[in-house]
C-alpha cells in the first residue's frame, strides 16, 4: 500500500472518547501541537453506555479533573438534563454529584471545544500502526496510508480494539454503538512487545418512551438546589436553574427471572462463548438473577438519553442474551409491557493492556513517549477514563519538555487512588472507582477538590489565570472566615439559647466560641446566622468549607496523621535503575515482581502483591546502606 508523509505533531492521541479528549486538550493547552485521531467524527465524546456523568466517587473524579484544569466538568455543566447530589444525607466526604446528560449535546459541545482549541487537530482516521525508533515513539500510520510524526502518543482506544459485540448466539466485529472497531492496531501493539488481554463490558437496550407506561413507575427527580461540577460554575445561577427532566424507577419480578432462567443456556456469558472478563460492578441482568437467586426483584432505572429524544436508557438490564429473549424479558417489567426496542442490549469484548506495565504517570515503562489511558488500561467508566486521559496528556507534554512526571498519590486525590490501583496492583476485571477504595476519604472530598488540586494544576500550567485568581480569592475568604468563627464569641443570652433549644441542642451558660457550637451535630453554619451578627455575606461554597472544616476538625486531624505516616514510605524513593536480582535477602517472588514493575517508592513497592513486609524491610536496609555508600 502507498504511504505518504503528512504533518508532524508533538503529541498524537489515538481515540476521541473521554480519555482521548482530556489527553488531547491537556497536551494542546500545554502548548503542544496535538492531533486527536477518531474512528468517527460523530462519535467524539460519545456515551455508549449510561447517559450520565458523576455518581459516587466518580463525581469526585470529575471535580478533581476540573480543579486540575480538565474539561469534563465544564462540559457536563453545560449539558445536564438532571442533577443530583447523592448521599447528601450522609457525611460530606461521600457526597457525590451525578448529572444526567444530553448525550448528543455533550458530543456537540465537546467537539466544538476541541475544534476551537488552538493547538489541536481532530482527524477521522483509523490508526493502524505505531512506529518506534530506538526505544522511542516516532510516528503513526493511518489505514489510508498517512504517516504522522510525533514525539509522544497517548493510546486511548476504549472498547474499540478488536471490538466484538455479542448478542446471544450472534456476534460480530464492532466498536461500541455500531461504530467500526479498530482491528489492526492490536497487532502493532503486540509487535512492540505489549501484551494484550480481553476484557468485557455490556450495555442495556434503549427503548422509545412512547412505548413505555411511565405511570407504572416511580418518578426520580433531580435536586431543587443544583450544584455544578466545575468550580468555575459555582455561582452560575443561570446554568444552575435550568429545567430538569425526570428519571424513573421500576423493578424486575418473578416473571423476568423465570424468562432468564429458562434461557440462560443461550447466554454467551454462561455457555462460555465469551472469554473476556466482565466487571463485578455492573453485572448483566442474567448475572444478577443467577448469582442472587433469592433476591425477589432488581431495580431498573429509566434514564432519558437527552432533551430532544424519546430514547430511554434502561439501567440495570444490560444483557447479552439473544435479542428475542431480551425483548421478552424486558416486557415482563411494569411499564415496559408494550415496549419496543430502538437499540438492543449487547456485550462487547475488547483488547486491553496489563496496566502494571505503566508508570504512575501512565507512561508505558519500556517505550519512551508512549502513554495509555482509559478503558484500554482495564478501567471502566467515563470519569475514570477522563481522569487517566488528563494525567497521560499532561505527562506526554511534560516528557517532550524533559520535565518530571506529574503524579498524584493516594492521599492527594481519587485520581491518585485510581492510577495507583491500576498501575501498582493491576486489575483482573474492568476497574470501577469507589469511595471505599480510598483510605483517606475524609480528606478527599468532592467539595475541596479545588483546594487540594488547583495549585497543582496551576503549577502544571493547565489552570487558567481566571480560574486561579478565583481560587485564591475563595481560599482567602475561607481562611478569614475560619479565623472569625474560631474567635467569635456567642453570648449566652436568651436569644442564643432560644435558638439552640429550637434546634434541639443544649443551651449554654457561658459565652461560647462559634466554632465550638458548630461542632455540635444539630448546629450548622447556616442555622446560626441569627446569633452571629458580624457574619459577612459569603458564597455557598465558602460557607460549606467553613462548616465542614470546623465540624470535622477532629477527624480531619486524625486522617492527616494517617496521611503523614503514609507519606513516609512514599517519600522513600526507589530508582527504576535498581536491579532487584542483586539485592541480597529479597524473596524470589519479590525480586521478580519488583524487577517487573520497578516501583518508584518503597510505599508503592509495599502495595505490590507478592512483596512481603520482610521484603520491604530488606529494601529499607538496602536504601540505608546504598545511601551510605554514596556519601
Amino acid at each position: 500500500m502507498i504511504e505518504y508523509k503528512d504533518m508532524d505533531y508533538d503529541v498524537v492521541v489515538i481515540g476521541g472518547g473521554h480519555a482521548g479528549i482530556e489527553a488531547a486538550l491537556a497536551a494542546a493547552r500545554l502548548g503542544k501541537t496535538t492531533a486527536m485521531f477518531v474512528m468517527n467524527m460523530d462519535s467524539v465524546a460519545n456515551m455508549p453506555c449510561n447517559p450520565s456523568i458523576g455518581g459516587t466517587s466518580k463525581g469526585h473524579l470529575v471535580r478533581e479533573i476540573d480543579a486540575l484544569g480538565g474539561q469534563m466538568g465544564l462540559s457536563a455543566d453545560q449539558c445536564f438534563v438532571q442533577s443530583k447530589m447523592l448521599n447528601s444525607s450522609k457525611g460530606p466526604a461521600v457526597h457525590s454529584l451525578r448529572a444526567q446528560i444530553d448525550r448528543r449535546k455533550y458530543h456537540a459541545y465537546m467537539k466544538q471545544v476541541l475544534e476551537n482549541e488552538q493547538n489541536l487537530d481532530i482527524i477521522q482516521a483509523e490508526v493502524v500502526e505505531i512506529r518506534t525508533e530506538g526505544n522511542k515513539v516516532k510516528e503513526i500510520k493511518t489505514k489510508n496510508g498517512a504517516i504522522y510524526g510525533c514525539k509522544a502518543i497517548v493510546v486511548a482506544t476504549g472498547t474499540y480494539l478488536k471490538g466484538k459485540v455479542v448478542i446471544g448466539e450472534v456476534s460480530y466485529e464492532s466498536g461500541p454503538d455500531g461504530v467500526f472497531p479498530a482491528n489492526e492496531l492490536s497487532q502493532s501493539l503486540l509487535n512492540l512487545g505489549i501484551e494484550l488481554r480481553r476484557f468485557k463490558t455490556g450495555t442495556p437496550a434503549r427503548i422509545n418512551v412512547k412505548t413505555m407506561d411511565l405511570s407504572k413507575m416511580e418518578v426520580q427527580s433531580g435536586d431543587e438546589d443544583i450544584q455544578s461540577f466545575s468550580f468555575m460554575n459555582e455561582e452560575n445561577k443561570e446554568l444552575l436553574s435550568r429545567p430538569q427532566i425526570d428519571c424513573y424507577l421500576t423493578y424486575t419480578n418473578e416473571e423476568t427471572h423465570k424468562e432468564i432462567r429458562a434461557n440462560i443456556h443461550r447466554s454467551p456469558l454462561f455457555n462460555g462463548s465469551i472469554s473476556g472478563v466482565g466487571p463485578r460492578y455492573c453485572p448483566s441482568i442474567e448475572d444478577k438473577v443467577m448469582r442472587f437467586a433469592d433476591k425477589e426483584r432488581h431495580q431498573i432505572f429509566i434514564e432519558p438519553m437527552g432533551d430532544n429524544t424519546g430514547e430511554m436508557y434502561i439501567q440495570g438490564m444490560s444483557s447479552s442474551l439473544p435479542e428475542e429473549v431480551q425483548k421478552r424479558l424486558y416486557k415482563t417489567v411494569p411499564g415496559l409491557e408494550n415496549c419496543r426496542f430502538m437499540r438492543s442490549a449487547y456485550a462487547i469484548e475488547y483488547d486491553a493492556i496489563d496496566s502494571t506495565k505503566l508508570s504512575l504517570g501512565l507512561k508505558y515503562k519500556d517505550i519512551d513517549g508512549l502513554y495509555f489511558a482509559g478503558q484500554i488500561n482495564g478501567s471502566s467508566g467515563y470519569e475514570e477514563a477522563a481522569a487517566q486521559g488528563l494525567i497521560a496528556g499532561i505527562n506526554a507534554a511534560r516528557e517532550i519538555d524533559n520535565l518530571p512526571e506529574f503524579t498524584l498519590d493516594r492521599s492527594e486525590a481519587y485520581i491518585g487512588v485510581l492510577i495507583d490501583d491500576l498501575v501498582t496492583k493491576g486489575t483482573n476485571e474492568p476497574y470501577r472507582m469507589m469511595t471505599s477504595r480510598s483510605e483517606y476519604r475524609l480528606m478527599l472530598r468532592q467539595d475541596n477538590a479545588d483546594l487540594r488540586l488547583t495549585e497543582k494544576g496551576h503549577a502544571v500550567g493547565l489552570v487558567s489565570d481566571e480560574r486561579y485568581s478565583a481560587f485564591v480569592n475563595k481560599k482567602e475568604l475561607i481562611e478569614k472566615e475560619l479565623e472569625r468563627v474560631a474567635s467569635t464569641l456567642i453570648k449566652a443570652n436568651d436569644n442564643t439559647n432560644a435558638l439552640l433549644e429550637s434546634l434541639g441542642s443544649s443551651t449554654i451558660e457561658r459565652g461560647t466560641k462559634l466554632a465550638e457550637l458548630l461542632k455540635r451535630t444539630e448546629v450548622t453554619y447556616d442555622n446560626t446566622a441569627s446569633i452571629d451578627p458580624s457574619r459577612p455575606v459569603l458564597p455557598r461554597s465558602v460557607r460549606e468549607q467553613v462548616e465542614i472544616q470546623v465540624k470535622y476538625a477532629g477527624y480531619i486531624k486524625l486522617q492527616q496523621e494517617q496521611i503523614d505516616r503514609f507519606k513516609k514510605l512514599e517519600e522513600k524513593k526507589l530508582s527504576t535503575e535498581i536491579d532487584y536480582e542483586q539485592i541480597k535477602g529479597l524473596s524470589l517472588e519479590a525480586r521478580q515482581k519488583l524487577n517487573k514493575q520497578k516501583p518508584t517508592s518503597v510505599g508503592q513497592a509495599s502495595r505490590i502483591t507478592g512483596v512481603s513486609p520482610a521484603d520491604i524491610s530488606v529494601l529499607l536496609i538496602y536504601l540505608t546502606q546504598s545511601g551510605k555508600k554514596e556519601v
Binding site: T56, G91, S436, R441, Y555, G585
Partner: protein, 457 residues
C-alpha cells in the same frame, strides 16, 4: 510509625539483678521528665540516680539509674533513655506502664534494631545478619505462627476481623450504591453489632492473662519441710535444662527465681523456705511463708521425704493447697532409698492426685514429673482445644486499640454522625486486627516486619 516513641524491657532471658527499660523516639526525654525525679540533671551520655514516681498515686515506684543518649548518637539514632531499675517483674512492669501511659507504645519485636538500621546505625555485616534472620522468618512462617499466635487464636482474631469487614462492607455498599435497594444498616443494628464485636475482642484480651503463663512463665513453688530435698530437686531440674534457659522472646522474670523450660512452658521456679519443726515461733513463720508461697504461685510441687514419711503439718498444708484449687503435684523424694514406704505413704495421702515418686539423686521420676507439669498446664489451665491465648504484648496492644476504635465508632454512631464517619474507626479497628493476623493491605506494613526479633534487644 517511625516517629512514634517506643519502649520495652530490654533485659530478659536470664535472671538479673537489674532490669532495663529502653525508650526510643522523639518523646523519650519528655516521657522521662514526667516520671523521673532527677530529670533536670539528665544529659547526653550521663547516668543519673533518682526515683521513678507515679504522679497519679503520688508514690515512689523504685530507685533507679537513668541514662540518656541524644539523637543521633544513640543505638537507634533517636533520643534514647534507659531506666535501670531493681529487677522484679512487678516493679519493672509498673515502670513500663508509666512510660506507656505517658506517650510511648510497646516496641514490637526487633523494633529497636529496625530503627537502628533505618537510621544508619548498623554496619553492613550486622545488617546482613538481620536480613538472614528475616529470611529465616519468611521461610519458617508457619513456625512463627505457632510461636506467636496459636492456630486457635488466629482463627478467632480472623473471625472477629471478618465481622468488622462484613460490617464495613454493609456500610460501604450504602455509600457507594446509595440508590440501590439494599437495606441501610440502622444505628441500632450497627451499635448492636459493634457491641458484639467489642465483646469478642474483650474475650481475646482476657486470654492475655492466660497467655502471660506462656509469656512471663508459670510461677512454680517447691514447698515442703526442711531437708526433704527441695533445693536438690530444683538443681536437678535446672541442670538438665540449663542449656536452653536463655533467649526467650520478651520474657522478663523476677531475679530471685530460676527459670526452667519444660516443653512449651516457661516456669519461674522458687524454692521456699522449709518448714521448721522445733521452735514454735519460727515454725509459725515457716508455715506462713509456705502459705504465702502457696498464695502467690500458679502451681506447687509439694515435696515429701519418702524415707521420713508424712507428718501432721504435711497433711494440713496439703489440705490447704487442695482447697485453693491450684494445680499441685506431690513429689515423694528419695525413692531410691526407701521404695518400701511408697504404698504406706500413698495410702496416707488418700485422695490426693498427681503423686510422683522421684529421686533428685538418681533422676528417677523426673521425666514423669515434667510430663505431669506439662500435662496439667496444657490440659487444665489453658483452653487447649481452642488455644485462645494472646501471648504477645503487641497483639494485646493492637487488640486494645481495636477495641477503642470499636467503642469510638459506636459513640460516633450514637451521636448521630453519619455512617461514613463511623466507618473511619471501624476501618481502623479492622486494620489493627489485620496487623495481628498479617492480613491487611494497609501501607504501614513495615511495622510488622521484624516480628521474629526478640523484644528490646
Amino acid at each position: 510509625m517511625l516517629t512514634e516513641t517506643i519502649a520495652a524491657i530490654s533485659t530478659g532471658g536470664t535472671s538479673s539483678g537489674i532490669n532495663i527499660i529502653r525508650i526510643s523516639g522523639e518523646k523519650a526525654l519528655e516521657i522521662v521528665s514526667k516520671i523521673f525525679t532527677n530529670y533536670a540533671k539528665l544529659d547526653h551520655q550521663k547516668i543519673i540516680y533518682g526515683k521513678i514516681i507515679n504522679n497519679n498515686t503520688s508514690t515512689i515506684v523504685d530507685e533507679v539509674l537513668v541514662s540518656c543518649f541524644k539523637a543521633p548518637h544513640s543505638f537507634t539514632g533517636e533520643d534514647v533513655c534507659e531506666i535501670n531499675c531493681h529487677g522484679g517483674r512487678k516493679v519493672t512492669l509498673e515502670i513500663l506502664k508509666l512510660v506507656i501511659d505517658n506517650g510511648a507504645r510497646i516496641a514490637e519485636p526487633g523494633e529497636f534494631s529496625k530503627r537502628a538500621f533505618l537510621n544508619g546505625k548498623m554496619d553492613l555485616s550486622k545488617a546482613e545478619a538481620i536480613i538472614d534472620v528475616i529470611n529465616a522468618k519468611t521461610s519458617a512462617q508457619a513456625k512463627v505462627a505457632v510461636n506467636q499466635l496459636s492456630g486457635g487464636i488466629y482463627d478467632k482474631v480472623e473471625t472477629v476481623r471478618d465481622m468488622l469487614v462484613t460490617l464495613m462492607a454493609e456500610i460501604e455498599v450504602s455509600i457507594d450504591y446509595p440508590e440501590y435497594d439494599y437495606e441501610e444498616i440502622t444505628i441500632n443494628k450497627l451499635t448492636e453489632r459493634l457491641d458484639l464485636i467489642k465483646k469478642e475482642i474483650d474475650l481475646l484480651i482476657k486470654t492475655h492473662n492466660d497467655g502471660k503463663y506462656i509469656k512471663n512463665g508459670i510461677n512454680l513453688a517447691i514447698v515442703g519441710n526442711t531437708n526433704v530435698g527441695k533445693s536438690s530437686l530444683l538443681n536437678t531440674l535446672l541442670n538438665e535444662e540449663k542449656a536452653i534457659v536463655t533467649d526467650i522472646e520478651g520474657t522478663t522474670r523476677d531475679v530471685i527465681e530460676e527459670t526452667l523450660i519444660i516443653g512449651n512452658l516457661v516456669l519461674n521456679v522458687s524454692d521456699t523456705a522449709g518448714i521448721r519443726e522445733t521452735d514454735d515461733v519460727v515454725e509459725a513463720i515457716g508455715v506462713n511463708k509456705s502459705l504465702k508461697a502457696i498464695d502467690d504461685t500458679d502451681m506447687i510441687i509439694y515435696l515429701i521425704d519418702l524415707s521420713r514419711g508424712l507428718n501432721t503439718r504435711d497433711i494440713e498444708l496439703l489440705e490447704k493447697i487442695k482447697g485453693q484449687n491450684k494445680p499441685y503435684i506431690i513429689g515423694l523424694n528419695k525413692v531410691d532409698i526407701s521404695r518400701e514406704k511408697i504404698e504406706d505413704v500413698k495410702s496416707q495421702l488418700g485422695n490426693h492426685k498427681n503423686i510422683i515418686c522421684i529421686s533428685s539423686k538418681t533422676g528417677e521420676g523426673i521425666v514423669e514429673l515434667k510430663d505431669t507439669i506439662e500435662e496439667i498446664f496444657n490440659i487444665s489451665n489453658i483452653d487447649s482445644e481452642e488455644s485462645r491465648i494472646i501471648v504477645n504484648e503487641r497483639h494485646k496492644d493492637l487488640l486494645e486499640k481495636a477495641r477503642n476504635s470499636v467503642i469510638k465508632a459506636k459513640e460516633i454512631a450514637e451521636m448521630g454522625e453519619s455512617l461514613d464517619v463511623a466507618a473511619i474507626d471501624i476501618k481502623e479497628a479492622t486494620e489493627m486486627l489485620g496487623n495481628i493476623t498479617g492480613k491487611n493491605a494497609s501501607s504501614d506494613v513495615v511495622n510488622k516486619i521484624f516480628e521474629k526479633f526478640c523484644l528490646g534487644k
